[in-house]
Each structure stands twice: as structure tokens, then as C-alpha cells.
């Protein structure tokens, strides 16, 4: 069965304290891995798509990387406004479906 697991479930960081969020997956035929940010009570906001192992994408303080088994979302010198839940999703096989992890809730303390 295809699975996407995110860790940790929750993470508290001091402002400026860099860290990484993990998304591990067990799927056949990965076609894409997607990162989203979700603020409370809102819909997920697209951040990155990664298609193949070794690929990296960056946006401001965020950097996403992909290996054959997992992806990391690195957050460098986070600010309180980076506080949100970060969701990972994979697309695999021949269909259009995404498989989502349950997310990592990030809190950045001033």
C-alpha cells in the first residue's frame, strides 16, 4: 500500500534556529512530490514540486530536496511568519491522485 509519512508531527523552533522536516514515502513509480504550506483555517498553498532524486528547489528560507525514499524541507533562520502546517504529497502510478501525509505543525517562537 502506498504510504506517505511526515515527521515530526510538531516542531517548535526559536526564531533563527534552522531545522528540517521529513517526508518519507513508499510508493511505486513516483511521478512527483509536492510540498504545501497550510495556515489555520485555510486551504493548502503550493510551495514546491520535485520530480526526481537529487532535485532541489528553493524559495526564500525554504529548500526542498528529494531522494529515492524521502524528501526534506529545510528551513533556514526561520521567522515567526513561517509558523504553519507543512504538508507533503506524492503522485505515483498512472493516475492523477495525490497521497498526502498528515503534516508537520511548525511553530517559530520570537
Amino acid at each position: 500500500e502506498d504510504q506517505v509519512t511526515q515527521s515530526p508531527e510538531a516542531l517548535r523552533l526559536q526564531e533563527g534556529e534552522s531545522s528540517s522536516l521529513n517526508c518519507s514515502y513508499t510508493v511505486s513509480g513516483l511521478r512527483g512530490l509536492f510540498w504545501y504550506r497550510q495556515d489555520p483555517g485555510k486551504g493548502p498553498e503550493f510551495l514546491f514540486t520535485l520530480y526526481s532524486a537529487g532535485e532541489e528547489k528553493e524559495k526564500e528560507r525554504l529548500k526542498a530536496t528529494l531522494t529515492k525514499k524521502e524528501s526534506f524541507l529545510h528551513i533556514t533562520a526561520p521567522k515567526p511568519e513561517d509558523s504553519a502546517t507543512y504538508l507533503c504529497a506524492v503522485q505515483a502510478g498512472g493516475g492523477n491522485q495525490f497521497y498526502f501525509g498528515t503534516g508537520t505543525s511548525l511553530t517559530v517562537i520570537p
Binding site: G32, G43, A89, Q91, N96, T102
Partner: protein, 111 residues
């Protein structure tokens, strides 16, 4: 920018009522999706559609139906709402097999 809108941000209904949730996208995307999101369970796919009048069941279709009469509009219908359908409902759209873009969500409470 892709824009996906949902008809209501908050909705309160009574058990047994018929509920319509509507989603509209403005980017001519062929694929549209309905998810529900519950704490600890993540996003679960209810139904999706890859073309007008076409629909496919997702992981949890029981108690729901959908309608897609126009390309830009995808409706989720709860035929007889129940308390276990209290949830956050999210609509998304995509072009081909690419990134899904989400609407703001509808928080549905069934009393």
C-alpha cells in the same frame, strides 16, 4: 495566478439536510478534486473529475456524490448530512497530472 474559490467558508447544517458545496476554478483545468481534512487523518480524497460529466470515486466516497456540468465548476453533494460529516472540505484543481491548487476550504458543521 490560479484561483480556486469555494461557495462558503463556514456552513452549519442539521442532520438529514441535503448540502451542496460548490467549487469554481478560473484556469481551464481539466481535473478537479474534493477532499476532506480531519485532525490526525490528513487530507482524504472523496471524489475527483477529469472531465465534464466524468467522475471517479476516491478513498472515502460513501455518503457523498458530485456533479460536474461545466468545466470550471465541481459540486460536492451530501445527500443526507450526518454528524460524522462535520469536517473541513477542500476543493482542488490541476492541469493534467501536475500540481493541484487548492481553494480556501469550507468548514462544515452538522448538528
Amino acid at each position: 495566478d490560479v484561483k480556486v474559490t469555494q461557495s462558503s467558508r463556514y456552513l452549519v447544517k442539521r442532520t438529514g439536510e441535503k448540502v451542496f458545496l460548490e467549487c469554481v476554478q478560473d484556469m481551464d483545468h481539466e481535473n478537479m478534486f474534493w477532499y476532506r481534512q480531519d485532525p490526525g487523518l490528513g487530507l482524504r480524497l472523496i471524489y475527483f473529475s477529469y472531465d465534464v460529466k466524468m467522475k471517479e470515486k476516491g478513498d472515502i466516497p460513501e455518503g457523498y456524490s458530485v456533479s460536474r456540468e461545466k468545466k470550471e465548476r465541481f459540486s460536492l453533494i451530501l445527500e443526507s448530512a450526518s454528524t460524522n460529516q462535520t469536517s473541513m472540505y477542500l476543493c482542488a484543481s490541476s492541469l493534467g497530472t501536475f500540481t493541484q491548487y487548492f481553494g480556501p476550504g469550507t468548514r462544515l458543521t452538522v448538528l
